[in-house]
């Protein structure tokens, strides 16, 4: 996938877009690693709860809240990573050989649509998150502020919007997908 089909006359712009794309990939990578570290944290919490219960005969009331907290981070920060590496499932019925012009337009529209969608979801979620912040809602057992759960989702959606938009720029300037 690394053959630019038509390099434009603006090598500087071309390089800048590529660098931007590279930076976005790095950022999503860092977030994905942070999220997966949280997932390992969730594993530790659940295992500790089991051991504590079987051996100590006690229960660890906050285990569910903590697990949800970690998984929320893992899932939210994995989404931009999946956009950035093209891991999202697509159906490739026609292959790339036929309807080239048509699919060129589609290929440009897909990341742009993705960016618009993620931005819209961010806008919707933002409103709801602010409502929860205003009420000071907290999780059922450990009373973790719900806004923290929302921060994971909001940052994941914002990052996904940026990733998709940079993919769109990259496609327009370099003709490269993913």
């Amino acid at each position: 996938m690394n053959q630019p089909t038509h390099i434009r006359d603006e090598p500087q712009l071309y390089a800048a877009v590529r660098r931007l794309d590279h930076i976005m990939t790095r950022i999503t990578d860092i977030f994905a690693f942070a999220g997966m570290t949280a997932l390992i944290g969730a594993i530790a919490v659940v295992v500790a709860d089991i051991v504590w219960r079987r051996i100590g005969g006690q229960s660890f009331i906050g285990a569910v809240d903590l697990t949800q907290f970690c998984v929320m981070a893992a899932a939210s920060w994995a989404i931009p990573h999946a956009f950035s590496t093209g891991a999202h499932v697509t159906v490739d019925l026609f292959g790339k050989r036929i309807f080239r012009r048509f699919f060129y337009i589609i290929d440009a529209l897909i990341p742009l649509t993705g960016a618009a969608l993620m931005a819209f979801l961010f806008y919707l979620s933002w409103g709801r998150a602010m409502e929860q912040l205003a009420y000071g809602d907290v999780s059922q057992n450990l009373a973790i502020p719900m806004i923290l759960f929302w921060v994971f989702l909001l940052s994941g959606l914002a990052l996904s919007t940026l990733v998709c938009f940079v993919k769109f720029l990259k496609f327009v300037f370099t003709g490269e997908t993913i």
């Binding site: 006690q58 229960s59 009331i61 409502e131 809602d137 059922q140 009373a143 719900m146």
Partner: protein, 324 residues
């Protein structure tokens, strides 16, 4: 009809909330306004059936009225949560009247501000349901793993040496069956809904706690209605409505209790003397809980608890003097 009002709640359409409470209430309103008002009810299966969002969607004006649980999301109505203190309320009628009177007397502070409050109510005193370890005395609770409905009940169980476990209703059956939990603290209504009577053997009826519920309306929407409609709503809400919950809960609870009897389970009745002992044992926890409410903006929690106890005694005498 020229006006459509939307009511939502979080229970399935077959539940008593819809069949006995909301549908007849809606019909009454339609009749009183001579068809000027039409009411649409949204149950748990609809887009507006999420338990944690009933009050929020009324405030946002997406829904006009809603019935919900005070405790979810937690800490929204800290003053009203005092009604959920262990061994305070035994009967749904006294509990509902008490909560409603606390509100009318202005004791609940800013809990329901910005809402038109149509009714506040509680359920019937919850029970301790267990698999094969009967709970006849406080000592029996030690070391039991019990599913808990609320932070207040969790604190109570911990103070007795039991381990509270938080589980969604859908996970109760499987966890009982595997013996992951020894039992649960809840109403007959929920035990019946999750078909747990076939696993449980003992039910300790101690009037251990109640949960509070609200029936709220969007204040702006109410103010925007024509005068005759507002009058009609007022006539069928508040006092006359709150008075009906005792009878309704008797009916809703009876089904679950009958099912337990059918399964040959033992129902352990705790006498008032023992109940008072249990209540004494939990006083330090109650004190701590009330103290904690101050940080959540409740000015004088002790006074509310005091008044609640007076009201409960008053209504218990009124409704249940001849029970024993």
């Amino acid at each position: 009809a020229e006006i459509t009002l939307k009511i939502s709640h979080y229970l399935p359409p077959s539940h008593g909330f819809q069949k006995d409470f909301l549908e007849p209430w809606a019909k009454q309103l339609e009749e009183k306004t001579h068809g000027k008002v039409e009411v649409k009810i949204y149950d748990a299966t609809s887009a507006f059936g999420k338990i944690d969002r009933q009050a929020d969607q009324v405030r946002a004006g997406v829904i006009d009225m809603a019935v919900g649980l005070n405790g979810i999301p937690r800490d929204r109505y800290p003053a009203a949560s005092i009604i959920e203190m262990p061994f305070l309320v035994k009967y749904a009628d006294s509990g509902s009247e008490t909560l409603w009177n606390l509100y009318k007397e202005g004791m609940l502070g800013s809990d329901y501000k910005d809402f038109k409050v149509l009714a506040l109510f509680t359920h019937e005193g919850g029970l301790i349901h267990t698999l094969d370890k009967p709970v006849r005395s406080l000592e029996d609770l030690k070391g039991l793993r019990l599913r808990t409905p609320s932070p207040a009940v969790s604190a109570m169980l911990e103070s007795y040496g039991a381990s509270p476990v938080g589980l969604p209703p859908s996970a109760i059956y499987e966890n009982l069956q595997k013996g992951n939990i020894d039992g649960l603290v809840t109403t007959w209504d929920l035990v019946n809904a999750v078909k747990a009577n076939e696993l449980l053997k003992y039910h300790t009826d101690a009037g251990a706690y109640v949960a509070g519920f609200y029936f709220l309306m969007n204040q702006k929407k109410f103010d925007s209605l024509p005068e005759d409609v507002r009058k009609a709503i007022d006539e069928i809400s508040g006092d006359p409505l709150v008075a009906k919950f005792g009878g309704w809960w008797d009916k809703w609870e009876a089904a679950g209790k009958a099912d337990a009897v059918k399964h040959g389970n033992e129902i352990i009745k705790i006498d008032d003397k023992t109940r008072a002992e249990w209540k004494d044992a939990v006083q330090p926890m109650i004190k701590e809980y009330l103290e904690g409410l101050k940080a959540k903006g409740v000015k004088d929690p002790e006074a509310i608890y005091q008044r609640a106890q007076e009201l409960v005694t008053q209504f218990d005498t009124k409704y249940h003097a001849g029970d024993k």
